[in-house]
């Protein structure tokens, strides 16, 4: 029963941020990431964090989901922190244990890098939490469309992404069914060493791939039957249109950028 599971981390909603044009959100996220890099000190980070948290609060999504995306990269954050802590050279020694010394500069740098990483992840998390995968695909297609002049296959990539999204639940369902069928024939997916387990996956993966190819063929035929001939001359029912709130969002991000630059200039922290 994988049917009810939503794909990705999208939380449906009707907040201002939810209603933003996906292109605005994509560009704003890129801008936000840039701003994180622009910031030279903690005051800037604090401002960015406040901005992101405020955005998240306005969407009604619980803050914990914002930080859930950190789990897979927690190790990298800690590693970066440790690396900077121990190997950053500095003059103000805080602690010395044999050859290992921790300096104030090191501590500052380590914290700086860790916070920067966390902010990067959290800002992009905001995008995926508030934008449906399909809107994201539409946004990407629209943003990359100008590149079609140089033969960049924007439409094809977007089409592939949306078909993949469409078939993930179907294939998960199918995997579940095949797994059950093979278990009924005595297959064992759970025990054994790594090699044995990898081998045990063959009876699952082969039918799954064969099925996926069969589906792909049928889908291609069905698309042909509905006059699909690539992106040329195609229109869309949902037109992406920038609205007032998009301008507002752009202004907010620009204001944030200005503030961070100002903080840099005054060397606050």
């Amino acid at each position: 029963m994988l049917k009810g599971v939503t794909i990705g981390q999208f939380f449906p909603g009707d907040s201002l941020i939810h209603r933003l044009d996906p292109r605005t959100k994509l560009l704003a996220t890129i801008a936000l990431i840039a701003i994180v890099f622009v910031s030279q000190g903690f005051a800037g980070f604090l401002l960015i964090a406040a901005f992101v948290l405020a955005c998240c609060a306005s969407t009604g999504i619980h803050l914990k989901f914002l930080f859930r995306g950190l789990k897979p990269i927690l190790f990298i954050v800690l590693f970066t922190f440790a690396l900077n802590l121990f190997f950053q050279s500095g003059t103000t020694v805080l602690l010395q244990l044999g050859p290992v010394k921790i300096t104030a500069e090191g501590l500052r740098m380590a914290s700086f890098m860790a916070v920067r990483l966390i902010l990067l992840v959290v800002s992009s998390q905001l995008l995926t939490l508030t934008t449906s995968p399909i809107a994201l695909t539409d946004g990407l297609e629209s943003l990359f469309r100008p590149l079609e002049v140089v033969k960049f296959p924007a439409h094809e990539i977007a089409m592939m992404m949306s078909i993949a999204l469409r078939f993930i639940p179907t294939l998960m369902d199918e995997a579940d069914k095949i797994m059950k069928a093979q278990k009924a024939r005595g297959a064992d997916f759970e025990t054994g060493n790594l090699l044995q387990r990898a081998k045990a996956m063959v009876p699952l993966l082969v039918p799954l791939f064969v099925g996926a190819f069969r589906r792909a063929e049928e889908l291609a035929l069905a698309m042909d039957a509905r006059c699909y001939r690539g992106g040329a001359g195609r229109t869309r029912m949902h037109q992406l249109r920038f609205k007032g709130i998009d301008a507002l969002a752009a202004l907010a991000v620009l204001a944030l950028l200005a503030a961070v630059i100002a903080l840099n200039a005054f060397h606050v922290w």
Partner: protein
């Protein structure tokens, strides 16, 4: 009693917004050598039910027994259960994966860790039993026709020599002749001593084959009994999205119109004889 189900409850995704009661206290028993039909439309819980009979779904202790083994018991020997109960899912041809038919059919028996000669013997026997020519053994299962693939998949389960065979919609998607052949194949398997449970939404098919029927509706058993008994409820069944065989419908209809037709007829020849009898032509000519 090969299969005994006592007040089986199954809840999908409990505690989430997707929580759904697939089975709400189902009880049934299958006797040795019986041919039992389980009918219900999509979402009635029949697929969940048969998954339980093979231990693919975990049940509470004391709910599902196969040959006396409690499948809810933590220490239940699932290999023994799967050896006893063969399960053929809907569209089983989509589970084939080996290079050759013979290797695919051998998958089940080799999971049972049987000696090589025994596996080989069982494979060739199973291929014959499903009515395939032995020459297909070395072919790739992907080269075969749809109907043949399905037979290979059934052979793969038969090769485990289960004493109970459960089939989910074995005739789905086949054309009428394919359907007739598939049903006669399953009848043959039953006649050779295997207890059979067939899930279907075709009343025609279960009426033709089964000794006893269980009608599942919204996770509960709505009717059970011989086909003749179940088909009396044609209107209630229609309300559940199920149709009784045309001849049963006609017999029920004629009875309401005042025809003297005994209850429980649904086979064409029986209904024909009853009509002739009523019209005063019975006995004159063989029906």
């Amino acid at each position: 009693m090969p299969i005994e189900v006592k007040n089986l409850v199954h809840v999908y995704m409990p505690g989430t917004p997707f929580e759904a009661h697939a089975l709400k206290g189902v009880s049934l028993a299958v006797r040795d050598g019986e041919f039992v039909g389980i009918i219900g439309h999509t979402g009635s819980g029949k697929s969940t039910l048969i998954s339980h009979l093979n231990g693919l779904e975990k049940s509470e202790p004391g709910a599902v027994f196969v040959n006396g083994m409690d499948l809810g018991d933590k220490g239940a020997d699932l290999i023994a259960v799967r050896r006893a109960v063969g399960l053929v899912f809907q569209y089983p041809e989509y589970q084939l994966f080996e290079e050759t038919v013979a290797k695919d059919v051998a998958f089940g028996p080799s999971n049972l860790k049987l000696p090589a000669e025994e596996i080989e013997r069982r494979v060739s026997e199973a291929i014959l039993r499903v009515g395939l020519d032995p020459s297909v053994s070395d072919k790739s299962p992907f080269e075969l026709s749809g109907g043949q693939k399905r037979r290979v998949a059934i052979a793969g389960v038969l090769a485990m020599q289960p004493s109970i065979l459960i089939l989910d919609e074995p005739a789905a998607g086949l054309d009428p002749a394919g359907r007739r052949e598939m049903l006669s194949l399953i009848r043959n398997i039953h006649d050779s001593g295997t207890t059979v449970v067939m899930v279907s939404h075709s009343m025609d098919d279960v009426g033709r084959c089964c000794d006893r029927l269980f009608v599942l509706n919204r996770g509960e058993i709505a009717f059970s009994g011989t086909p003749a008994e179940v088909f009396l409820h044609d209107e209630a069944l229609h309300g559940m999205g199920l149709d009784v065989p045309e001849c049963a419908k006609l017999a029920n209809r004629l009875r309401r119109e005042g025809f003297d037709i005994p209850e429980g007829l649904f086979r064409e020849e029986e209904v024909c004889a009853a009509i002739l009898n009523h019209l005063g032509k019975g006995g004159k000519q063989p029906c």
